[in-house]
Amino acid sequence: MSESRDLILEATGVTKRFGGLTAVGDLDLIIQPQQIASVIGPNGAGKTTFFNCISGFYTPEEGEIRFLGEPIQGLSPDKITARGIARTYQNIHLFAGMTVLENVMVGSHTNLTSTPVGTLLRTPLNAREEDAALARAYELLGYVGLDSVGDWLATNLPYGQQRRLEIARALATDPVLLLLDEPTAGMNPQETENTMHFIQQLRDERDLTILLIEHDMSVVMGISDHVTVLDYGLKISEGTPAHVQNDPLVIEAYLGAAGADDLAADLEIAN
């Protein structure tokens, strides 16, 4: 097992079915440390289902998911988070009724040890821990550029800031692997580019491995080390961005058979 310890994530034969529909079928995926890996595919390709399998919301019917060499499928989401996988959501899910700082502090939950009794007595350990969590949350807010709105209600933030808050909250869980579900959804090209730059920075500065979901493949090409393409729950291609980009199956999946022919014709003309 020693070699697979070096892998951050190793999924083999992961299958998830909903009734007769196979949302993810027999998917293999390997993520190396410090990589930015992407899962792309058209809408409904099973990308988010795959994410939910990793983060514990779904239990795959078949296959195995190993994180740092240990199987994690079937564990509850909180246990998986405690092991070092954090995620964000395609539709932003912040805790309504809590402030920005509190939202991030919830992320520190697994790293804190206080119990109600300790809380009541406010033991020195407890107070220190609470202060440390607060300072840490504030530092993370500073990192994503939200340190001036810490006392706002999270749901009052504008859309782009909510996205960054979600990332800060995920970072507060002290993850090894960060799962980002369509982080650029609803952004304009300029914002998208900034976000991608930010993701790269996260990887470099925070010592993270990142798994990214995107349906727009042009977005991830620039920064991904490894791209996996899904269509109808099946992996149709994987490899470096350049390899995937030229795979006819991928082009067909995105543009349909007719579109792929057109593109091929265009390419010929161009050549």
Partner: protein
């Protein structure tokens, strides 16, 4: 959500809603049970006008900010009402002078002999005995309606002019506060106006950023306000103290002296004003020197302590009984009081070193002391209400944890209250079987033995558990440290991780078995009897009740873990009923519908003097509620509280952030339940007899309503909710049969006008603290600036 919150903190809305609510209160006070006659129609018109005027006034003038805005809000209803009241009196008297006999109109159809206040000075009995003394005898028919007069008009006997009227001239108000008639009426108005000001003040406090900055800019040049605000209450205290009993000549002071019982209220008003002024002067910008801060807070404390001593010696009410003096010892009581004040002073001297804490400290200490004084100033009836409200505050705070913090709708909350009450009843009731004269049922034989045994076993378990936990954690940590060298992944925050579930289970098993062993060995020994023979049944009952309620909270929690919303509500509803029906039907054990009787008071019965045991319960309630509020407050801003809050917002996402749902839910249920258990034990000790029908569904619904009306998740809100929902029916008692209707309408109005509750929880303010704690930034600011442009 966003628009809702913006609306929530809109001062205009605050003002209007407040005016609307108080207007409705007054209208209902007026409408119920008043005969339609000239005077009453006039009065109704006055109030409608007042209501509309107050609303217009607040609406028009609430654009500006600062202290003027607050003062206007507070004065809006008070001033307008006062002016209109006197206009109304003038109108009545003008009619009187023009030959319309207002008295006759007013008294038409009312047997005014029932009303002591209508006629000046002649008591009812005297009137009955000697009808000649009544100028209007025979003016009303024999079958005239017999009822109290809600308007309380008071006429001058000579001229027939209307002197005063008031809606709140309850006998006890007059007797205890020395006020009635127009004063009582004005007092009610002033209190509601102050409440309005407090509401807006609270609303302004949470308006972060822009508004606060503007506010500060405007008053930045007025540190003098600050000083005035500080000196004013002190001046008042000093003058009051110097002149009370020394025959001052000033009419204001004479008034104060004649109405000594009004002093706490006056002080409260002045303190409130002081706080508003301090806020205006921003203590951060203009900090008072340290000695002044200490002087002000401690001076206030000393004055309050002196008031208490005076009150205690005046009324010969002593809290702490001794064997030689069962009615209570003056010396001991005073000593206890001085100790409390001393501790507070020492605590304040430390806390006040931070100038920004001054305001908070000042408010907290002084209002805490005022609340502690309250039972001394109330009579038995007042204390009854206080105890009732306090018990509901405790339950409300408990349910607030389950519903307000964790978002789990619990409609069977009364079950835990019942368990607490019955636990104490079982352990302590002195009930005897009337026929045989022997103690009967479970409550009964070997009662004291059970108390002694439980006290002993609990103590042993506590000591052993502490020892096992401390030793176990120490060993575990040593083991952990020696292992951690091999750890590859660095922890986010350098604190020891908690032991794993298996280690915890092991520790628990060890603790239980060791304490069971020691308990079994010691159980029958002489020493055991000697040590625990004098255990107080109340304390044992309290511990037992809390444990019983807490465990049953977990028992309820386990089956409903997967349920949400409506389904959860239905199951908990069933749970509440099951517990009540068990108590009702297990006749052999619980006494069935005949209940459990003769439950002793916390202080043994031989401490004679009813008021003493009353005060003991009142103080128990106050202390219990304060402790529960304190615990709730700490929980709210802790890891546990955040987990609950996250869970309330979205269970799945909370779980994916690492929150253990099962643990969090069970914790919420058991903590909430144990608070109800405390309330139940005190309730049983207070009522002395409990029956299954004391624990009907209505109690659950009442508690839930007070949480919703007060403001879910907000501690001041729950307290306010309990005061309104439990206290208001007592205030509305004058309305007799219409009471329930008026209360219902009031609640409906409140829910429509303020769906968020009376005092909703403002967002926590942590950023300043975070900034002061912040670790050195990991990146140069230039890069950060770039990122924030993302």
């Amino acid at each position: 959500m966003m628009t809702r919150l913006q609306n929530l903190y809109d001062p205009v809305r605050e003002g209007v809603s407040f005016g609307f609510i108080s207007g409705l209160v007054v209208l209902f006070l007026l409408l119920a049970g008043i005969p339609v006659n000239l005077a009453n129609i006039g009065l109704l018109l006055v109030f409608v006008t007042m209501f509309v005027a107050g609303m217009q006034f607040t609406r028009r003038h609430f654009g500006s900010r600062g202290i003027a805005f607050l003062a206007r809000n507070a004065l809006a209803l008070g001033v307008v009402a006062a002016v209109l009241v006197y206009l109304f009196l003038a109108l009545l008297n003008r009619w009187q002078m023009e030959g319309i006999d207002v008295r006759k109109e007013y008294l038409k159809g009312v047997d005014h002999r029932q009303t002591m206040t209508v006629l000046s000075g002649v008591p009812v009995e005297e009137l009955r005995a000697n009808p000649a003394k009544d100028p209007y005898t025979g003016d009303y028919p024999e079958d005239a309606e017999l009822r109290t007069d809600p308007m309380r008009l008071t006429f001058d006997r000579e001229t027939g002019l209307v002197l005063k009227f008031g809606l709140s001239s309850k006998a006890w108000l007059e007797a205890n506060l020395g006020i009635g008639g127009v004063y009582g009426f004005l007092l009610v108005l002033v209190i509601t106006a102050l409440l309005g000001a407090m509401l807006t003040w609270a609303a302004m406090r949470v308006e972060v950023g822009r508004r606060r900055a503007a506010f500060r800019d405007r008053f930045a040049g007025h540190p003098v306000l600050h000083w005035v605000a500080m000196v004013l209450p002190l001046l008042f205290f000093a003058l009051l103290w110097l002149t009370t009993g020394h025959g001052g000549n000033d009419p204001v002071l004479r008034f104060a002296e004649e109405n000594r019982e009004l002093q706490p209220l006056l002080m409260f008003g002045i303190i409130l004003f002081g706080l508003i002024a301090i806020r205006a002067a921003e203590p951060r910008e203009w900090p008072l020197p340290y000695p002044a801060r200490v002087g002000i807070v401690c001076g206030g404390l000393v004055v309050l302590a002196l008031l208490a001593v005076w009150r205690i010696t005046d009324n010969e009410v002593y809290l702490i009984p001794t064997s030689s003096d069962p009615a209570g010892s003056a010396g001991l009581t005073t000593l206890a009081l001085l100790v409390v004040v001393g501790v507070l002073i020492v605590q304040n001297i430390q806390a006040l070193q931070d100038p920004t804490r001054f305001e908070w400290q000042f408010a907290a200490t002084l209002s805490g002391m005022l609340v502690l004084l309250l039972p001394l100033y109330l009579d038995q009836y007042g204390n009854d209400i206080l105890i009732k409200v306090g018990i509901y505050v405790m339950m409300g705070l408990g349910l607030n944890i389950v519903v307000g913090y964790a978002g789990l709708l619990d409609l069977g909350y009364v079950a835990f209250f019942a368990l607490g009450a019955y636990s104490y009843a079982f352990l302590s009731s002195n009930q005897q079987d009337t026929e045989s004269g022997v103690a009967s049922g479970l409550k009964f034989p070997g009662n004291d033995e059970a108390v002694i045994r439980i006290a002993g076993w609990l103590t042993i378990a506590l000591v052993v558990t502490l020892a096992v936990v401390i030793a176990g954690l120490y060993l575990w940590r040593r083991w952990q440290v020696s292992r951690s060298v091999a750890t590859t992944r660095q922890a986010l925050i350098i604190v020891p991780q908690r032991p794993s579930g298996r280690v915890t289970m092991l520790l628990i098993v060890i603790a239980i078995s060791v304490s069971a062993l020691i308990g079994a060995v010691l159980d029958s020994t002489e020493a055991f009897q000697d040590v625990f023979g004098n255990a107080s049944p109340f304390l044992v009952g309290l511990v037992g009740g809390v444990i019983a309620a807490g465990l049953s909270g977990i028992a309820l929690g386990v089956p409903v873990l997967r349920l949400r919303g409506d389904y959860l509500a239905i199951v908990t509803l069933g749970f509440g009923e099951i517990i009540r029906l068990l108590f009702l039907n297990l006749r052999d054990y619980t006494g069935g519908p005949e209940g459990v009787l003769e439950i002793p008071r916390p202080v043994p019965a031989d401490a004679a003097g009813q008021p003493v045991s009353y005060l003991v319960i009142a103080y128990l309630v106050l202390i219990g509620a304060a402790l529960i509020a304190f615990f709730s407050m700490r929980l709210k801003t802790s890891r546990t509280g955040r987990a609950w809050s996250a869970m309330k917002s979205d269970e799945d996402i909370a779980q994916s952030m690492g929150v253990h749902l099962v643990q969090s839910k069970l914790l919420a249920f058991s903590i909430g339940a144990s608070f109800a258990g405390i309330a139940g034990v005190i309730y049983a000790a207070y009522q002395r007899n409990i029956f299954p029908e004391n624990f009907s569904l209505a109690v659950s619904i009442n508690v839930l309503s007070l949480v919703i009306i007060g403001g879910m998740g907000s501690i001041p809100g729950v307290i306010m909710g309990a005061i309104v929902l439990i206290g208001m029916p007592e205030v509305l008692r004058e309305l007799e049969t219409y009471r329930v209707m008026a209360l219902g309408a009031l609640l409906v109005a409140m829910v429509i006008v303020r769906p968020e509750g009376i005092l909703p929880e403002p967002p926590t303010q942590l950023e300043d603290k975070a900034r002061s704690l912040a670790l050195p930034s990991t990146k140069p600011p230039a890069e950060r600036a770039e990122e924030s442009a993302v």
